[in-house]
Amino acid sequence: MSVDLTSTSGRTILAFKAGRAFRRAGTNFVDASPTKGAIVLTNEDGLIHFMWKDRTTGEVGEDLILFPGDAKLEKVTQSSWGRTYVLKFESSDQKHFFWLQDSSALRDEEFVTNLNRTLADPNIIAIWDARNVYPASEASTSAAGPSTSQPSTVPPIAPATSDSTPAGTTPEQLAQLRGIVSSMTGFASEDELWLTDVLSSQNLLPLFQSHPELLTSLFPHLPPELIPSPDATPQQVIEVLQRTTNSPPFRSAVAQLDRALRTGALGEFVRSLGLPESAATGVGAFLAAIAEQARQEGGTEERMEED
């Protein structure tokens, strides 16, 4: 069974933790349901699905197909608790209530704003501001791509369809934005890349051959039955590694991680890898954080890049 890595059907655009709340019959009160859940926006063959998923069972409790411009998630101002939102429609009186469940409220506005921008125009891709997840005053890379290194003021981004340049955007950022925006339609800028291409067999084989001392660090992550024995020859070790990294399940995992990194929701996951939360803001940021992690762990070769 081969996995189509280039298909974009069923692609998750963004996801964040949220519970549902229901109107108490005959009243204007809305009671929050304690069930842990998530709002997940996906793009399936060009249609935007707004789903609510139960995080404990994985079941989809709500799956709405939304027309651009029809729905909006608004804050419920009467809620004293402050994190209740309602999904409202232009086309009907339907209302769906949600409450945000992320342990920190710092990113609430960012999640909701990105959601609403996407609901208004699916061609917009969410822009995650690394400063919201990494609030320290040190220089933070813009969420957009791997080559921006200066601290940037990333203002609220205007919709792709407008020609006006958002104030304070550098030419680099503009190019990246155009690239990221167009990536929803299948095109991408020079800085767009896929993890699957970074980890191609063409890039991995030289690593296996030239740095045998680094390979033992990979063993704990292999399928347990396949871990080379201590008396395995270097050739045998390389063979196991090649076979594993060429296998469909491995390729599928790389593709999944790539897609997941574009949703901005992997904060806790990247922390579990020992990376800062800013690593969750995109593929470029993820790779940059890993490069930093390598430097910190020592053993990084400070020499001219091989080609």
Binding site: W194, L218, I290, A291, E301
Partner: protein, 319 residues
């Protein structure tokens, strides 16, 4: 750490290696092999065959296009084992159970035997529910499928999932060829077969080929699997018996067959291990190793170049 989906059945791949592993967990010494043709020679090479599994995905032009399969008759008095498919994701295991439940004197583990005893006399629907409620069976089934998608404190991001194939079992029961389809109300009886010569598989060939031809060309994606005795023990015994004899041709032929069979099992074992494993940790470890080796930047540059080429091709196609 991924959340174990312990409340339901996970979708498995429909691969001979996966089926054979399931049989092992049920304590049944059979294997499942790919069938590339229904020709007499192909089937003869795999005998004794206990059941044929026909798996297919069908792509209709329109919803009304489903060919009516008129061959055979429903047998509401079927004396053997038949369970309805009550959980979609369990379809592969259900097909195997439907096949095994009708094989006389089946060698099997105690849990499976208990399940067969427990379901004796049940109607197909209740039987199906009993099968899918068997925790040990569900765990054996789920152990064969890939781990859940990247789980972030319960925020399972949807992974691209395979659509389920549909599975239909063909096997002989009491002198007639039966079709067991968990989505049909009863087993379908296709009539008697001749014991001599090829036996029941000849009738199965006719019925399956006719079925394939009722679909418009290209609309049907299908596979055939054979549930058969494990040939290795017999081959090894024969090899031992031939040692020191002068039957060179037979000996070398047999050794080839054994070597092929062993390498196929090795491949299945690798694929099953790989399938069950969560590779995300390896992805991170590889990227870290690339960085430490000073190769991450060039890998990124390479990825960008590949992407550019890809885009060029795409733009060329669209213009």
């Amino acid at each position: 750490m991924s959340d174990e989906d312990s409340s339901g059945w996970q979708l498995t791949e429909s691969d001979p290696g996966v089926f054979t592993e399931l049989l092992k967990r049920l304590g049944v010494p059979y294997i499942v092999d790919d069938l590339y043709s229904l020709e007499p020679e192909s089937l003869a090479a795999l005998q004794p065959i206990h059941a044929l599994i026909f798996l297919f995905k069908w792509f209709p032009e329109s919803p009304d296009d489903e060919p009516s399969v008129s061959a055979g008759h429903y047998d509401s008095d079927f004396p053997g084992f038949f369970a309805h498919q009550t959980v979609n994701n369990a379809c592969a295991t259900l097909a195997v159970v439907n096949a095994l439940g009708n094989i006389a004197s089946l060698p099997a583990g105690p849990q499976f035997m208990d399940l067969m005893n427990f379901t004796t006399g049940m109607d197909p629907q209740t039987c199906g529910m009993a099968i899918t409620s068997a925790d040990w069976l569900r765990e054996a089934h789920n152990a064969l499928s890939p781990p859940s998608a990247i789980s972030l404190d319960g925020l399972d991001l949807p992974k691209k999932s395979e659509e389920a194939y549909h599975f239909v079992v063909y096997l002989p029961v009491l002198g007639s060829l039966y079709e067991l389809d968990g989505l049909k109300p009863y087993p379908v009886r296709h009539g008697e077969y001749e014991e001599s010569g090829e036996g029941w598989v000849k009738k199965a060939r006719e019925v399956i080929e006719e079925r394939i031809h009722t679909y418009p060309t290209g609309a049907l994606e299908f596979s055939l699997l054979a549930l058969r005795d494990d040939p290795l023990p017999g081959m090894r015994r024969r090899l031992d018996a031939l040692q020191g004899s002068s039957a060179d041709v037979e000996l070398s032929d047999l050794m080839n067959k054994i070597a092929n069979e062993n390498s196929k099992r090795e491949r299945w074992a690798f694929e099953n291990s790989s399938r069950r494993h969560n590779h995300i940790g390896l992805v991170h470890a590889l990227l870290l190793a690339l960085a430490k080796a000073g190769k991450l930047d060039s890998a990124k540059a390479d990825a960008q170049r590949v992407m550019q080429e890809r885009l060029e091709r795409q733009r060329a196609m669209r213009s």
